[in-house]
Symmetry: D2
Subunit: 284 residues, 4 copies
């Protein structure tokens, strides 16, 4: 049994849904999941389908070709089709904070994540032993003012060599370059330790403390050129009071960060996220 | 422009989605919303569609007939089709608590609710002035041991006369009879002041206080013969501490009750709820 | 039985708690509630006490005098003492939105609020009938560019005449002048329809929609000269998805606004809020 | 500088707070934290204090003796006094689930927990490698019908030898015996994977799925003889929909379990929990 996931978006028109479902039926597929959304402001149609094909002669490549010529061109669709038997490959970028790392590797180990982690990159050696314990290859790529370009080339080389599908910055404390962002557009997931768009940039817990907010948050988003301004995938919040010092916010925030990042990673790895005009459509 | 909402459930089979979308296309409709769910435990397929028909000759009755003969019988579907221009009629049953009443009538007044309220029934006179202020007809139907059947007949008469589609028990402090439940199956919405299935029955805040829970809740559900055991439509919770006395739980709970009930009413009135095997499927 | 509430803040020093509790014991009082907080960053001590006095000769004024000379001066305390038998007087400022108004008046009517509402001021006539229904005097004080100062004087006159203790802007769609703010510092409560400091200013739901946030919020704060930048009293949030249009955010937001504002009003009316350096300490 | 934490409860009487604060002042202490609660239903007074003593001659034992004779006996207090420089010792009991284990050990490693973990006991060998990675001694104590008593004696021996202060059952899949409960009353913390008192006993996620709840939860409580009926320390919940299969509830629930258990462990280790009449008072 072959199973594929189809993500489509295009200008909204009548009969799209019937055309797509019809096409899949003609190709011998059975739709097991369908969800759609229309952005009325921008008049854009979004759809996500999962379809099963029993025929042994089914080929994802052939299906893609027919889909393109028979359907996608007619509606001028942007589309992606994934075969369910191919797990996406995720690279982990880390620095010195270990909570998101432990959390993701714990989930990975227990089989909760539908992905592969070919390697971990860090600009520091502090967390190497954790990677070793989980038996994930660890590359130390230090980043200094002078070695920035060299480091980036090393990163790109590793990403390409391992055919990485997406990158997760698990509290990686470096600005990612435009070159990397261009190559992995909407494929680099960051966790920011505030409820965006509040408290962009460095030290958000300090800013939240100073402003006296009663709720703090964490936000996972795709990385774009503008700092902390990319499409938001997932957010969560927790209550705080005057009695919480900055260190308390940091401690409470860690629990938000790891859960929010893990949820964003799962949504992305399960091909449930579409991006349009700096916003996400999430078919969960 | 005619707009209809279709709700379907049947045993899961292949090609249902394509068959339905195809049928609608043939009838000249454009699908503007589709959502589906398969209950894998019970092998049941659920679907909700909204479709628009431009043709002036479109008739909902004709569509229903074709739908039944050409599609529903083949898949042995249970189905309901609603015309969007017909607002459902809701009867409000109340007793002495006013918070849910104020909340629902405030929303009704501001146009937030897609429904009509032909009348309010109460077994007490306490809240009559609120109904008067909002200019909703108010019927006082007292219920005592001796007048129970008479009261019920009076209620049924009013419900039928006004062609009521569904009933909302807004903290109505009486057990509804089996006769009413049979006639309005999955059409009587209750608000229970606990996080069901915890604290079934009377005085749930007292029980929650006694048990020392750290979170209290409210649950809106369809009324069935078994007390507080019907299909759950909506639930919400809020934190409490040891410092909250029973009266504090009651006060905090009121805010949950009114929001949860209003959300359940909106889901039902917008035909987003399906019931199967004492559980709800909610296409929101 | 006399009951008083004492709020204190001063530079942190040793022995403050023992000194205060000792003083109250000497005066014949029994402490029934005590809570304290030390802001370690700024080295400021905060305390809230409730104390009962059985003696018939007890006088709040005498107590205040002794408190001032025997205790407050020694520690250079800022302090406030309230008698529990005096309910604070709240003025309601409204414009055209009715949800917060209905919610507050519903609570007021049912005895949930420990306060009096001598009158409602509005710059429009739209909601007069609601005030009438609840039998609260309603003053129409229109505000235009030309009449701004005149309107303000009318407001001040009413506030003074009725000995108003604090003002609640229940979606009052006008900027309050510096004169009013100076006279009622930390006594004007506003509800802003966003999760501050995100989306300051006009049309926050539109901004939230545009940014694609996954959670929206509401914030109640004291009004200061800088727009939406005053001390935060209470905040709450709710989840949204890509499927929510701007109108959905507005509808969902209304439920947040009314609950958050009501909670802030209750905290203030029960003398549980202290303000220092643009932040609140809330002893709840 | 010596710092102690004092927990007190007794029948409510007047002048308790003044008496305690006075006593501490006389002993040369400075109160840096005070919180109190009166259970009006049962007329019980609870208090938690933190006090610092600068004098080099201060001895916690001497203080305890004075406290007992000069104060506790007069008010017939139940009391506990802890020296802040003594971290409590926690034994971890586990079986086969690793998520709570990873989470607690990750926090332990990063210094978030104010406690020591002298050893881990498991009735299975599956998670030994995790204990090894974190360098915590691991004891395999298998439990079968025939070896139940022997296993328990082995457990008690380890607990006593290491002077364990409290036990955490991190998804330990065995019923703990009455002997252990008696010896560690209100010192055995369990995590139950439901929102208690809903879904007591085995397979709560299956029961939640069957009931069709819209919110699932997790509860951390002290173990008592009656199953899942002990004093609740902490609870949390998360939303689910009809689209979540049982495995989804289990996955989502794991995130609740680990956060709720960690919070309960921190509250207990920081001596913030008091138990009375099967309920907790939590001074957080």
């Amino acid at each position: 049994m072959n199973k594929i996931t189809i993500l489509i978006h295009c200008k909204d028109r009548s009969k799209i849904i019937a055309s797509v479902t019809n096409f899949i039926a003609q190709e011998g597929g059975n739709i097991v999941y369908i969800d759609q959304h229309v952005d009325r402001e921008q008049d854009i149609f979004f759809m996500r389908l999962e379809s099963e094909f029993i025929s042994e002669s089914f080929s994802t490549d052939n299906f893609k070709n027919s889909f393109k010529s028979d359907l996608a061109e007619k509606f001028q669709m942007k589309w992606r089709i994934y075969s369910s038997d191919k797990k996406p490959k995720m690279a982990l970028f880390i620095s010195k904070y270990d909570h998101c790392l432990y959390d993701l590797l714990g989930r990975y180990n227990s089989g909760e994540l539908n992905l592969e982690i070919p390697f971990i990159i860090s600009n520091h050696l502090d967390l190497k032993s954790i990677a070793d314990n989980f038996k994930i290859p660890f590359y130390h790529v230090p980043v200094t003012k002078d070695t920035k370009e060299e480091a980036e080339n090393k990163q790109l080389e590793l990403l390409e060599k391992h055919k990485i599908d997406f990158i997760v910055l698990a509290r990686y404390m470096q600005i990612v370059s435009g070159k990397l962002i261009d190559k992995y557009t909407n494929k680099i997931i960051n966790i920011h330790h505030s409820f965006l768009p509040a408290f962009v940039g460095a030290k958000p817990y300090h800013s939240a403390y100073k402003r006296g907010v009663k709720i703090i948050g964490a936000t996972s988003h795709y990385v774009t050129e503008e700092l902390d301004a990319g499409p938001i995938i997932e957010q969560d919040v927790t209550r705080v009071t005057h009695a919480h010092a900055i260190e308390d916010l940091i401690t409470k925030g860690r629990d938000l960060e790891k859960i929010v990042l893990a949820n964003a990673v799962k949504l992305h790895a399960n091909r449930k996220v579409m991006v349009f005009n700096n916003k996400t459509v999430i078919f969960s």
